[in-house]
């Protein structure tokens, strides 16, 4: 949903922007993801139809130096490289780091900025002082960045976000414990936040370069020259100072350029990304485990919470009765997706911020509790009242009578419908994708989109779901049989079937 929101927002902007584009002078069409956030290039909050940012200003300078007019093509971070390749624009200027897999697809200009990484934690944090303290904590960062690659290499658990504000917000909300981010973003979003603080000094040195299409060597030469120019004449320095990005690293770097020292691209690590079935099944298995855990957790909540709802709805005082009915009708009647979104995005407003998996677990639990309550109600009402009376007459209190006499009998009646709900819960966990929980259905979508193997993967995923539901159903039937042996046999219905 969030993803879709982004995209729609995006498209709307696109149309506005390209309308205004004028194609008189030769253009320098540059691509970047404005939803990546400040301070690179982003929507001006004061004039939502304009973009601002230090890279925007830098491109203006570069274009001027090249004798072109800049033309901004907003694009998606994930597809920047392929959009460049398909000629949607001429250069990528988006805090792009040179990496091995990118080097296979595009070429890079000289670097124009030395970025560092900064770890940020909450003000009251006293366990995390550097990245080495994070092996037991989840660190947030943006996907496919130097930071995410470093976390992956060091085996530190991390979560990918699409934009810095999301990551810092979840840090405040304690959904994660630290954020590792390029200094420019950190400077803009975190440095002045009174609830956050930096954990240790900035570290690591990386390069921002401009990406170009393979073969566009002439343009590369132009761009490289322009970069040299704006560094040497000090205009880049001014911009960086204006945006609070001027620091020791830049002094060092720009001085070396001014003195004619050639900046070397550091070692580029090579990563490959081919689709393979073994990995796919492994990923599906991991996703299936998440699904199972969420389903079991939710069912536990539903089973436990359903009981007071059922009793309250049929026998509580009037006000409790109304409350239970409203609860049931609301949670049954509205889409669980909307409920989850509310819990995930709405609750933090009143100070309750749960991580995604917990939100899914609780949300589905609350939702299914409404269903379970109805199942229980029917089962409880099917028990003859003589059973209650006999229990009371033996001096049992209501709770004891319920627990020892009524519940065991009602359980057998409720069991098949509960199994139904459990089995369909496995599949309902798929809505959790909306709050970025990575479970089986999400994994399926991702893999299928990546591989195009919709049908084969569909069959594989069906088998996974079956592998969850069959043991459940089998257990439930065995339990039923065991319970049946102890209570009034039903008549031999064979005649009915005949």
């Amino acid at each position: 949903m969030r993803r879709e929101l982004n995209r729609a927002f995006h498209t709307a902007l696109l149309i506005t922007v390209s309308f205004n584009a004028v194609a008189a002078q030769q253009a320098l069409r540059w691509g970047a993801d404005p939803s990546g956030g400040a301070p690179y290039v982003f929507t001006d909050p004061a004039h939502p139809d304009q973009y601002i940012g230090y890279e925007k200003e830098m491109v203006d300078l570069l274009a001027a130096a090249m004798g072109r007019h800049p033309e901004f093509v907003p694009s998606d971070w994930e597809t920047l490289v392929s959009a460049l390749q398909r000629n949607s624009f001429d250069v990528i200027v988006n805090g792009l780091e040179p990496t091995g897999d990118r080097a296979q697809q595009i070429i890079f200009s000289k670097p124009y900025y030395i970025f560092q990484l900064q770890l940020t934690v909450r003000k009251d944090e006293n366990r995390i002082h550097s990245l080495s303290d994070c092996s037991k904590h989840t660190v947030a960062t943006l996907g496919n960045t130097a930071a995410s690659r470093m976390l992956q290499q060091q085996n530190i658990p991390f979560r990918s976000y699409e934009d810095p504000p999301g990551a810092y917000r979840d840090l405040e909300l304690k959904r994660i414990d630290a954020v590792l981010m390029d200094v420019p973003a950190e400077a803009f979003y975190a440095r002045n936040n009174p609830k956050l603080k930096p954990a240790g000094p900035p570290f690591f040195r990386g390069l921002y370069v401009i990406g170009l299409r393979k073969g566009d060597d002439k343009l590369k030469a132009e761009v490289d020259a322009a970069i040299d120019k704006i560094i040497i004449d000090g205009s880049l320095e001014q911009i960086l100072k204006k945006w609070g990005l001027w620091n020791d690293a830049q002094v060092e770097f720009q001085t070396s350029i001014r003195q004619g020292v050639k900046a070397e691209l550091g070692h580029i690590d090579m990563t490959t990304a081919t689709f393979n079935w073994r990995d796919a099944l492994l990923r599906l298995t991991r996703a299936a485990i998440v699904t199972v855990l969420i389903a079991f957790g939710s069912m536990l909540i539903a089973v436990v919470l359903g009981l007071p709802l059922a009793v309250g709805q049929s026998n509580g005082p009037k006000i409790v009765r109304s409350f239970c009915t409203v609860y049931v009708e609301f949670f049954r009647g509205t889409p669980v997706l909307v409920q989850l979104l509310f819990l995930y995005f709405g609750l933090p407003a009143i100070g309750i911020a749960m991580p995604g998996w917990l939100t899914a677990l609780v949300g589905l639990g609350l939702n299914y509790a409404a269903y379970e309550s109805q199942v229980y109600r029917a089962a409880l009402e099917a028990i003859p009242k003589g059973q209650w009376e006999a229990a009371y007459s033996l001096g049992m209190n209501p709770v004891l009578a319920f627990r020892r006499i009524i519940l065991p009998q009602a359980f057998r009646i409720a069991l098949p419908a509960m199994t139904n709900d459990f089995v369909s819960l496995f599949k309902d966990t798929s809505v959790a994708f909306a709050i970025s929980v990575w479970e089986l259905a999400t994994a399926y979508r991702e893999l299928a989109n990546a591989s195009g193997q919709f049908l084969l993967l569909g069959v594989a995923v069906s088998i996974f779901y079956l592998a969850m539901s069959l043991p459940m159903a089998h257990l439930a039937r065995r339990l039923e049989d065991r319970l049946r042996n102890r209570v009034p046999e039903t008549v031999d219905l064979e005649e009915v079937a005949a």
């Binding site: 059973q387 009376e389 007459s393 033996l394 001096g395 102890r486 209570v487 009034p488 046999e489």
Partner: protein, 246 residues
């Protein structure tokens, strides 16, 4: 022990009990007789709190139920009452998911918190005395009518309540079992229990009940010592009813 004063009960517009008053002395047996539909079962359900009374009072040991009590207070007193009073229902209401033994030991173990071992030993003794020792591990479903009734009696006796209420405890019993139940209950009375027994079998009450109450259409027509009611009733209806029974 028990004193009922001007007890009234109605279901909707239908008056079921129209002012019942009687007393039961400790360690005595009161028999209630009367035609079908005269309100005997309803009276018994009022005595153990399963029906709320509409007017009058029920006193039982230290507990006193009154029609005008608040809901919560009534409920509270009924709980106290039920610790003293055990009931054998006309329709038995055995617990189908529990074995015969567990039916009997369930309440002693979980309500009186007796340890399971001794509760089971005592349950076996009770089962033996009603002739069902071999059925201990069976489930109620597979028992014959008379066997179920005897389990229900054993279940109530296992709690050793001060007061025992029986609703037609011999309806499914053969003559022989009826006689031995009478002997057994007499033993319980001498050991300090008080009983109210509803029965259509005057033969069963004869020699067991100290006092008899004859009810008709929600009223007590006559009450008195058993001898007197059986042989020398003052009311014509009572004489008529008793005569037809023999």
């Amino acid at each position: 022990m028990i004193r009922v004063t001007d007890l009234r009960k109605h279901f909707g517009p239908t008056q079921i009990l129209k002012g019942i008053s009687f007393e039961v002395a400790p360690q005595t047996v009161v028999g209630v007789i009367g035609s079908s539909g005269s309100g005997k079962t309803t009276l018994l359900r009022c005595l153990n709190g399963l029906e709320r009374i509409n007017s009058g009072t029920v006193e039982c040991g230290k507990v006193r139920l009154e029609a005008k009590l608040s809901k919560a207070e009534y409920r509270h007193r009924v709980r106290d009452l039920r610790r003293e009073v055990g009931t054998v229902f006309q329709h038995f209401y055995l617990f189908p998911h529990l074995s015969v033994l567990a039916n009997i030991t369930e309440a002693p173990v979980h309500v009186l918190r007796r340890d399971r071992k001794s509760a089971e030993t005592e349950a076996y003794e009770l089962l033996e005395s009603v002739g069902l020792k071999t059925a201990a591990q069976r489930y109620p479903e597979s028992l014959s009518g008379g066997e179920q009734q005897r389990v229900a009696i054993a279940r109530a006796l296992a709690m050793r309540p001060a007061v025992l209420l029986f609703d037609e405890p011999t309806s499914a019993l053969d003559p022989k079992r009826t006689v031995s139940l009478r002997t057994m209950l007499r033993g319980f009375v001498t050991r300090g229990h008080t009983m109210i027994i509803i029965s259509h079998s005057i033969g069963f009450l004869n020699g067991l009940a100290d006092k008899l109450i004859y009810m008709d259409s929600g009223e007590i027509v006559e009450q008195g010592p058993a001898e007197q009611i059986l042989n020398d009733a003052s009311d014509a209806r009572t004489r008529d009813f008793v005569s037809q029974a023999s």
